[in-house]
């Protein structure tokens, strides 16, 4: 407020809002600190342990890719998706498989257009070379013409090249790198260390803004040392009960606190058994969803028996667990503080 003097004495004039346009302050980066990352990821539905948040912090500040390992279903891919949402960046996902090569991953030439170009060139060649009476003159003129055949307009970018071309950066997810061949792994090295690719016909293409790269692996085969050396390594273990309860509560909002505690305690018990495939986080979340659909309020042996196939994916595991279901359910109920 300010006081303005008028003939009738001082009156109080309402201050008008400031109309000067201030330069908008840069929003603080969601990756400025480990705590900010943990909070930010929680905001987009990903409950991260401190080590996961630290990995993301370092990936951003050291500009290095993160190699994420862990058993299936612990949230490796989800981490990349959540990061893209958090940073509001486009996510480019490349699924690896045996036989994946650079023509599917990096770039390909638009062959159809190239052929058409050749045809047009043939038709126009007479015009272009008109007046060149000797072979040498014709060749000189040919050299003078721009070499269009292998040029950017004929380049079909694949995921890796697209990720390098985004002005504002992107999140690049190279999923299940262990499924690809060793040759492809070697081919990735240049991109992962220098954020650039060499295309023999064009030259080196450098990233405008280096993308944030996640590579995931299920350990189908051992990755090469060269690749590992270029990456930060994050191993996501199966979570402890407390973290898992938070994950379930976030991913399945309708589930009651007591049921969450019970089902997590039950899953944690299963993980101590000698099973062929122990349930991971995604199975716990699926199971919680299934229990909600069945209107469950608490774990009961029959209910668990009927839905056990959501948690355990091998018949021999189900057979091994079933006889002791009563005991495990009672234990889970006890762990959740029930009677």
């Amino acid at each position: 407020m300010r006081i303005a003097a008028t003939n009738g004495g001082p009156t109080i004039e309402k201050q008008r809002p400031l109309t000067v346009q201030l330069k908008p302050a840069l929003a603080p980066s969601p990756l400025r600190s480990v705590e900010a990352i943990t909070e930010g990821l929680a905001g987009v539905g990903y409950i991260a342990s401190r080590r996961i948040a630290t990995a993301l912090f370092m990936a951003q500040h050291l500009q290095k890719p993160v190699l994420v390992e862990g058993v299936a279903g612990v949230g490796k891919t989800e981490l990349a998706l959540a990061t893209a949402t958090l940073l509001d960046l486009p996510l480019i996902r490349m699924q690896c498989y045996e036989g994946l090569d650079e023509s599917k991953a990096l770039y390909e030439w638009k062959y159809g257009k190239q052929l058409l170009y050749t045809q047009i060139l043939k038709d126009r060649m007479g015009e272009a070379l008109e007046g060149a009476h000797s072979m040498e003159a014709a060749m000189d003129r040919l050299h003078g013409m721009g070499d269009m055949f292998f040029s950017e307009p004929f380049l079909e970018p694949r995921p890796l090249l697209r990720a390098l071309r985004y002005e504002g950066g992107a999140v690049l997810l190279i999923d299940e790198i262990d499924k690809s061949d060793e040759a492809f792994e070697a081919f990735l090295l240049e991109i992962l260390s220098a954020y650039q690719v060499s295309i023999p016909e064009i030259g080196v293409i450098k990233a405008k803004t280096p993308p944030l790269v996640f590579l995931t692996s299920n350990n189908v085969r051992d990755l090469g040392d060269a690749l590992k050396r270029r990456c930060l390594h994050l191993h996501i273990p199966l979570p402890d009960a407390h973290l898992e309860e938070r994950i379930v509560a976030t991913r399945v909002p309708g589930v009651e606190a007591r049921l969450t505690k019970e089902l997590v305690a039950f899953v944690q018990t299963l993980r101590t058994l000698d099973l062929r495939k122990v349930p991971s986080i995604s199975e716990t979340v699926d199971w919680a969803r299934a229990l909600i659909l069945l209107h469950a309020k608490a774990l009961e042996t029959d209910l668990v028996r009927e839905t056990l196939n959501v948690l355990l994916k091998f018949e021999q595991d189900i057979v091994a667990v079933e006889p002791k279901l009563n005991e495990y359910v009672a234990k889970a109920s006890e762990a959740a503080g029930g009677e």
Partner: protein, 374 residues
């Protein structure tokens, strides 16, 4: 000259390497860059950040966590400082004034003692310790570097003077010298754990790898399992990924057009889509004999490990009849089950890469089985 922090990190990296966490020079640089980013204030953050930068497998992560805790935890000189006796402390100061170790011991300055021990350890090159037998030598060198000899001479001199006051001082110094021995041993134990714990295992593995199968003791079987798994994985990865393009199947239009460019678009060089991978097919046959039980166990383990990585593995065991055992190898405890299944206690195995129908070469009784490559 490296800064103290840099030297600490370098020693830590040395300890990591001794614990079989492979850290290349480039990764060591990454570790320093990491610390510049995260600072030193938050212990958990430093641990997590270094772990992410340096440990590259799940096993390495576990080893890193152990190593970090051992390296950055100081248990030495944690106890209560000895009670101060004002009068005798005062009296002793004249004799011990020239000897910093005696001063520290008498004043009970735990922090200075810990620092002195750290720098004595550096001078004694504690990070170079590799064998258990070096334990006493290292401990002695460290204490000598701290001034133990001079301390002992002082105690001797005080006792020779024969005055009650000097006697009392000598007793107190001797008592605290004993306490110093205990702390020094603790320190050396930690150094051994950091820098020498894996050396023994590596030597055992090396010996085991060169040992005759018949001489392997039952308690060495677990180590052998790990070794065999590594061998099988190496063998399989060397032979499992020879790929070549098939000469029939579906036409790869893109590649064919690409190759036709030099011929003006005429598809002269035709490319097919299918790529085939040569994966070895293995047939293993087990012969029964009374003399080579250890060999059978070794080969069963080898086959089980190979089964995980080889596309097609046919395994047969026979005593009086031939039994297919490939399915049992799918199971983790397959090797043991096979022995029971075919009534084997002692068996001998021969492995060959894709022999003709039926029988592969069987190694004669009493000889070591071997992998025969085609």
């Amino acid at each position: 000259m490296p800064s103290p922090v840099q030297a600490t990190i370098e020693d830590f990296i040395k300890a990591l390497r001794a614990s079989e966490v492979r850290v290349s020079p480039a990764e060591a640089i990454d570790a320093h860059r990491t610390l510049m980013e995260v600072g030193y204030a938050d212990r958990t953050l430093v641990k997590d950040a270094l772990c992410i930068a340096l440990a590259k497998t799940e096993e390495e992560v576990a080893r890193f966590d152990d190593c970090f805790e051992t390296y950055f935890t100081r248990d030495e000189f944690r106890g209560e400082p000895p009670e101060q006796r004002q009068t005798s402390g005062q009296a002793g100061s004249e004799d011990s004034a020239d000897l910093p170790l005696a001063e520290m011991l008498l004043s009970g300055d735990q922090i200075s003692l810990a620092q002195a021990m750290e720098s004595a350890a550096n001078r004694a090159r504690a990070t170079d310790v590799r064998l258990n037998t070096q334990r006493n030598l290292l401990s002695r060198r460290m204490l000598d570097n701290m001034g133990l000899r001079e301390l002992e001479e002082l105690i001797q001199r005080l006792r020779e003077q024969g005055l009650p006051r000097d006697e009392a001082l000598a007793d107190r110094l001797a008592e605290r010298r004993e306490a110093l021995f205990v702390e020094a041993n603790k320190f050396v134990d930690r150094q051994m754990q950091l820098y020498a714990s894996e050396t023994g295992r590596r030597m055992r593995d090396k010996l085991l790898a060169e040992q005759k199968l018949t001489n392997i003791e039952p308690e060495e079987m677990r180590s052998m399992e790990a070794l065999v798994k590594r061998m099988a994985k190496r063998l399989a990865s060397r032979y499992s990924r020879k790929r070549h393009r098939a000469d029939k199947g579906k036409l790869d239009v893109r590649k064919t057009i690409r190759k036709s460019m030099p011929y003006g678009g005429v598809p002269f060089d035709i490319v097919w889509k299918r790529e085939t991978i040569d994966k070895p097919k293995i047939v293993a046959i087990c012969d029964v004999s009374r003399s080579v039980q250890a060999a059978a166990q070794f080969m069963l383990l080898f086959l089980y490990s190979l089964n995980e990585v080889v596309e097609k593995l046919e395994a047969f065991a026979f005593s009086d009849r031939l039994v297919r055992v490939g399915d049992i190898l799918e199971d983790e405890k397959g090797a043991l089950r096979i022995c029971k299944y075919v009534g084997l206690e002692e068996a001998q195995w021969a492995v060959t890469e894709q022999p003709p129908e039926g029988v592969g070469p069987v190694v004669p009784d009493g000889e070591q089985p071997k992998v025969i490559e085609r």
